[in-house]
Amino acid sequence: MYRYDTLDKEFLADRTAEFREQTARRLAGEITEDQFKPIRLMNGLYLQLHAYMLRVAIPYGSLDSRQLRKLAWIARTYDKGYGHFTTRTNLQFHWIKLADTPDILDALASVDMHAIQTSGNCIRNVTADPFAGATAEEIDDPRVWSEAMRQWSSLHPEFSFLPRKFKIAVTAAPQDRTAAKVHDIGLVIKRARDGALGFEVMVGGGLGRTPYIGSTIREFLPASRLVSYLEAILRVYNRHGRRDNIYKARIKILVAALGAEEFARQVEEEWEKIGTASDLPDTELARIRAAFAPAVFETLPARSEAFEVAKASNPAFARFVRNNVKPHKKAGYAIVEVSLKAIGETPGDASADQMEVVADLAERYGQDDIRVTHEQNLVLPHVKLDDLATVHAGLAAAGLATPNINLISDIIACPGLDYCALANARAIPVAQHIAEKFADQDRAETIGELKIKISGCINACGHHHVGHIGILGVDKKGEEFYQLTLGGSGAEDAAVGQILGPALPANRVAESVDTLVEVYLRERGEGERFLDTFRRLGVAPFKEAVYAEAH
């Protein structure tokens, strides 16, 4: 993992000192809330319905045990004992007092963490494949490039006041676990025929009011030219992106208005003028790369007797393995996904105690490495098969062994009207009702992969457009209604979902999902996921079933 050096630490110390002064000015009444707002937003501090919310950056979703323990300590000391992992792989504390925030930022800085650029119209936390460094699928380690982009984007002098927020994802595997195609920039690491490393560059994807799948503007960008090319994209966007209407200010609107081809032409023209001056020297890339040198793995047999015995004797463990354990690139190791979607709980929430359990397990059995996924779960990327049963038992004791990764109860939900000032409707209770309806684990496994994503308003923080089943909260004359969409995907087969029909009242959402599932189970062909069946049949049979019952 990347370790902050003196320069990184001093950068952070300067930043937290600045915010301490700014907060003191606000608390002393020297500046108004209106004047303070842009300042706090540059430090991830939002004013929500009940309290301040602090959004802590988790760069490319990567943590070590020391950092996760500090987050647990902050949750216990300054919040109500829990935190909420987000689809940007950040962590939100929802019950923060303004006067405490400078101390919290100091605590974060003590473990090389911060809240810089977790809000505001700037380049946000770069997300990467949570299986980086562990999956055999990847061509290169995306964390190297994510860290390079973290540094480059931090307080970028030209790009800190963009038309709107800007999100970048990077993946190096054919199976996209980052939703790269619905990002402002999606980078896919590739090798050219001659073996050279580079990126496919996709631009203009996004969700919100007007969802778009990103367009590829460059099939192959030599890896060493990444920063200058990003600067060209950002510069074209900074100059020409709309600033008259915040709902039309994301880069996707500019790309759609110009057309991807013309946008690409403008970027290439600018890129030629920029030249190589801003690209990182190979020595710096090598320094960062060295920080992500492969963990030291033991040479182990591919088959672990201890693991096989535990699987045969403990059905709960066997179920966990079926759903939450993924193949590792090294024989004798596995990737473990830790679900933060326990039935009836808030998706993405983790208590301080749970964070500490995960930190302990990572330290003892997982090479001190923890990842956050954009689907609001955690990952222990390097666990020996021999230790899996012990890790499972440790997780289970803390309520963290829910065997539902990618199943119907592994739901993404935004905080919704329970916390958020923008929301039209609650999202968390809807997720809880659906999870409870499908609590039967056998049935959930029979249904198989089914991604439900819930947003409490059109801003789409819950990624509903790319849910296999998407659920959007809308306000109808003061009542919460929910618009269902089907057939979306945020993965390599990205698509925006189709609207099923008129919005449904809250009490009909879970049963309607049940109806949709029944149609799927009835109609599905061999090996078809819900998404595949929907794509084959179209919306008609699903619509008919849900709305027939309404009459």
Binding site: F11, P38, M42, L155, P157, E158, F161, N238, R239, T283
Partner: protein, 166 residues
């Protein structure tokens, strides 16, 4: 004379502006003036021939490229920030300095706040009309806040990766 903050060698000092900012609807007074791009295009030749210094105000929506040919005879480029959130002026300043090698004064005008000082200095602004009444001391403090930076920019500061290489 309006006051402005000048940035010289890492320090901020208070100075008088010798230039009068002239709105398009007003007559051009005697002395050094800052006028709009469109007025410069129609009247600049005459004003310069009178032997005075002329500056041009670029609105956020105007392209610096339209001024490039005239840069050697323009004393000041005043880059307008209609709102602090409107970041187009940062690109304008960076292009003026890094791409077009402009050595005259690049002045930030409009919604200019001390929270932007560090960014503005980095992209090459060297004169400021703060809208928040920031003093030179406050401006210096804000602009010099960070001991390290991560990017190459028009200010020529060594980015972290270059410091590491030393």
């Amino acid at each position: 004379m309006p006051k402005l903050i000048r940035w010289r060698d890492g320090d901020a000092v208070l100075d008088d502006s010798a230039f009068t900012a002239v709105a398009d609807e007003d007559d051009v007074p005697a002395g050094d003036v800052i006028i709009s791009l469109s007025r410069f295009q129609s009247e600049g030749e005459r004003l310069l021939s009178e032997g005075r210094a002329v500056g041009v105000r670029l609105e956020a929506s105007e392209n610096v490229e339209d001024l490039v040919y005239d840069l050697p005879r323009i004393a000041v480029v005043a880059v307008a920030f209609p709102k602090f959130r409107d970041g187009r002026g940062y690109t304008t300043a960076d292009l003026l300095r890094a791409r077009y090698g402009y050595r005259g004064e690049v002045r930030a005008v409009g919604d200019v706040l001390r929270e932007q000082a560090g960014f503005m200095v980095r992209v090459g602004f060297d004169a400021f009309e703060p809208a928040d009444g920031a003093t030179p001391e406050q401006w210096r403090h804000a602009a010099n806040r960070h001991r390290h930076v991560y990017q190459r920019a028009a200010d020529g500061r060594a980015p972290a990766f270059a410091e590491r290489g030393e």
